[in-house]
């Protein structure tokens, strides 16, 4: 991330942001993946992932953030997240009923357990994260019409 002194905030904020943005996203992914073991899950983790991108946009200005995820890519990723969730729900039809949990359940409190619930969490996490960032983009990149 190049430091352009005209856009964004001061040098101290930019240095700290470079160090913490990756950690914030990693924390968000941790909350998404452990949704079936500890509190959190898709929505809360997705909001934290979105906040990492918003942090980038606040500190460096909107051009750096748009270079990472552009508006088109945000819209496409959001639709892909929703289609993934619908596909997982339709997989239940293989077992006989809509939304049924068809994968192996495993033993409780393991990371790879509880069937399709972690996959649903990942789909929701992608959709909420990218969707919330797309809302911020739409509010910031508002073209002045006059």
């Amino acid at each position: 991330m190049i430091d352009n002194p005209k856009t964004g905030m001061t040098l101290i904020v930019k240095t700290i942001t470079r160090l913490t943005v990756g950690l914030i996203m990693l924390f968000g992914i941790y909350i998404i993946l452990h949704g079936h073991v500890s509190p959190g899950g898709g929505f809360a983790g997705g909001v934290i992932v979105a906040l990492s991108f918003v942090h980038l946009m606040l500190a460096f200005g909107k051009d750096t953030a748009i270079a990472r995820i552009s508006k088109n890519m945000a819209s496409n990723l959001e639709s892909i997240g929703a289609m993934m969730f619908l596909f997982i729900a339709l997989l239940g039809f293989l077992g006989g009923s809509f939304f049924l949990n068809v994968f192996a359940k495993g033993s409780p409190f393991d990371l790879f357990s509880a069937g399709t619930i972690p996959l649903s969490n990942i789909a929701i996490g992608i959709k909420v994260g990218v969707g919330l960032f797309a809302i911020f983009l739409a509010l910031v990149v508002l073209e002045r019409s006059k």
Partner: protein, 112 residues
Amino acid sequence: MTLYFLCLILFCVGLYGVLRKRNLVKIIVGLGIMEYAMNLFFVLLGYRFHGRAPIEAKDQDILNMVDPLPQALVLTSIVIGLGVTALVISIALRIYEKYGTFDITKIKRLKG
């Protein structure tokens, strides 16, 4: 019991904001307070005496938890509130562009 009354009083505070304030942004803030109050009310309905948080862990038994169903439903309701707030804020921004003011007594082109 007083806790539920305080929640409903907070709901009425938000309703007052929606009904009587003249600035568009203050109406949106009043709507936000109403959403908070109704979510809080729904979560507090699940309280059981001497209950603990409804999280399952390896060494604790399932007895003595508060009701987990309202907590899951309130998560959905918070997301819905977020969606409505985002939509209404972007509409308010565009109204400012077109009309030049946030005052609802001046945004009155549709009448009759």
